[in-house]
């Protein structure tokens, strides 16, 4: 077995017995990353300087291009941030460096994380390692593709409405969105501040627990990070799921789901049943409203978060060929017109609209109230079950270009992942099979706030019984 296909915990075991050195791992993985990147385009760029690290976990990692790395280009795959090198590390990057982690480079993504396919990247799309004609999902598509293709031992993504879990599902890897507040957002270039969360994308559940161990915890620089103790998440792995109450939300099993996805998820339910888990039927009645609520709340926050990209301090600055409204306003309007892609413009316009005078109550305030109802659905559901199980996505990976011209259809591909962000709860996507085209299917598990251990225990139990995660894309 070659280095690049091994998991982090397998590599750590080999380092411990002297089977391999951290330097060798970096060399092997980098070689693989560079060799297959023309096909996957998982990396936008490789780091300027890559040297083996020292520490508890000296493994190479791919970092999504919206997480600040001191002195390295960090652009959110957008033209407006071209040339921007932040003068500081995101908290998660500081923690990874402290553990000896080696940053291989910046993973491709949808521009400002606006998308579900990685196609809105100014650098061009990433490709799904299982079928290069298909999308890897998004917005953390580069991170998921890199891990699936063995271009990184593991990766960091960010998840605002499914941006870790959906690409993990499409690429046949594990993607974990922690509880809102579990991981510091300091240094994550914000999309929807009340929804964003950084999380691991890994080859298996144990690696997810390991990487979460490194990045989780209170950060005094992030007011919304929660000051609660961080357990050793690997200790939850191997816990028995006998008696675990697994809720099946009837609203997630709707017409329109690809039959092979449905079949794979049904089979997963049987795997849990066979292990003694208790399957309970639950209701999340406001599920149908989640996507609409999300697109109002997230775009409103985004329209404000993206106001700082104005051509004043950093990034792109542009002027129109023919002056229009005066030099300053021309600079703002032209910089943003040239710097943002079509989807970013769409979301900025929508977000500005729903906050504007006369529409706030009808859209933004109403959406915040519906968010309360969605959150209450989960609170009620977690009275009756410990974990909620669903498909991660209604379909497997779609073809590049297939949904680019229909924003609403594209938005609906996040239908099962968005509710967890609305409620702030942890959720994970794990491989649960393949469709007829040999494309991976993802199984989503959700748990209550800060119940990552329960989530990981259930995911690990499934993975042990149904080792779909061991399949590797052939590239």
């Amino acid at each position: 077995m070659n280095t690049a296909s091994l998991t982090a915990h397998e590599l750590m075991d080999r380092i411990k017995i002297g089977g391999i050195t951290p330097a060798r791992i970096v060399d092997d993985v980098l070689a693989r990353a560079q060799a297959v990147n023309p096909g996957t385009h998982a990396f936008i760029r490789f780091a300027d300087k890559i040297t083996a690290g020292e520490g508890a976990c000296p493994l190479p990692i791919a970092i999504k291009d919206n997480i600040c790395v001191n002195g390295s280009l960090t652009t959110c795959a957008s033209k407006i941030l071209e040339g921007f090198r932040p003068p500081y590390d995101a908290e998660v990057v500081a923690r990874i460096k402290a553990a000896g982690g080696v940053i291989l480079g910046s993973a491709n993504m949808d521009e400002f994380a606006f998308g579900s396919s990685c196609e809105t990247s100014v650098y061009g799309p990433s490709h799904n390692p299982w079928d290069l004609k298909r999308v890897p999902g998004g917005s953390s598509g580069g991170s998921a593709a890199a891990v699936a293709a063995g271009q990184a031992v593991w990766a960091l993504g960010s998840d605002t409405g499914g941006s870790i879990r959906q690409p993990a599902a499409f690429c046949g890897v594990v993607g974990l969105k922690p509880t809102y507040g579990r991981v510091s957002r300091y240094g994550l270039i914000a999309f929807g501040s009340s929804l964003d969360q950084i999380g691991p994308i890994t080859k298996d559940v144990r690696d997810g627990a390991l990487l979460l161990n490194i990045i989780a915890g209170f950060d005094p620089k992030d007011s919304t990070s929660v000051n609660a103790p961080v357990p050793d998440y690997t200790r939850a792995l191997g816990r028995d799921v006998k008696g675990l109450r697994i809720g099946i939300p009837r609203e997630y099993f709707i017409p329109g789901i690809q039959p092979e996805v449905l079949a794979a998820v049904r089979a997963a339910i049987d795997v849990f049943k066979a292990q003694g888990a208790q399957i309970v039927d639950i209701a999340l009645p406001h599920t149908a409203y989640a996507v609409a609520t999300y697109y109002i709340v997230a775009t409103a926050e985004a329209s404000s978060n993206l106001a700082r990209f104005d051509g004043v301090e950093y990034g792109l600055r542009a002027f129109p060929a023919v002056p229009r409204k005066g030099k300053l306003i021309d600079m703002y309007e032209e910089t943003r017109a040239q710097g943002f892609g079509a989807e970013a413009k769409r979301r900025i316009m929508l977000g500005t609209y729903v906050l504007s005078s006369g529409y706030y109550d009808a859209y933004y305030l109403r959406a915040q109230k519906v968010r309360t109802l969605i959150k209450q659905d989960f609170e009620k559901a977690f009275g009756a079950c410990d974990v909620i199980l669903s498909p991660t996505t209604p379909t497997t990976a779609f073809r590049i270009g297939e949904k680019m011209n229909d924003p609403v259809a594209m938005y609906l591909s996040d239908i099962f992942t968005i509710p967890a962000n609305m409620a702030g709860i942890p959720a994970i996507s794990i491989p649960c099979g393949f469709d007829g085209a040999k494309l991976p299917v993802g199984l989503q598990l959700m748990a209550g706030p800060f119940a990552e251990e329960t989530l990981l225990a259930a995911a690990y139990a499934y993975e042990q019984a149904a080792p779909w995660h061991q399949a590797r894309a052939s590239l």
């Binding site: 003068p87 406001h286 409203y289 609409a292 030099k327 900025i348 316009m349 109230k369 924003p407 609403v408």
Partner: protein, 94 residues
């Protein structure tokens, strides 16, 4: 109904220059998304408290203790244009 006038107003608030087919397409896209979002009107939310923070965390402070910030070198490492230790922009006429 998202009119050209609305698109014009919103784009000016967002400081986003739009023109021609791009503005027309955006008007149509916004129309479609807002039409979809109108399904929220089916819910009675009169007595529901809005959620702006999903976790019940309160009172997160910082002590009033100074710490070093960026060096001048760092502060201008990313600057588009600078002059006299300041970020330079086109002249603002009041």
């Amino acid at each position: 109904m998202i009119t050209a006038e609305t698109v014009n107003y919103i784009s000016s608030l967002a400081r986003l220059h739009l023109e021609g087919p791009e503005a027309v397409k955006l008007a149509g896209d916004l129309e479609a998304i807002l039409h979809y979002a109108a399904k929220l009107n089916a819910l009675d939310v009169a007595s529901v408290t809005p959620t702006s923070h999903v976790l019940n965390v309160e009172n997160v402070f910082r002590d009033d203790v100074p710490a070093p910030g960026l060096t001048p070198e760092q502060a201008f490492s990313f600057a588009i244009e600078s002059q006299d230790n300041a970020y330079k922009v086109p002249r603002i006429i009041e």
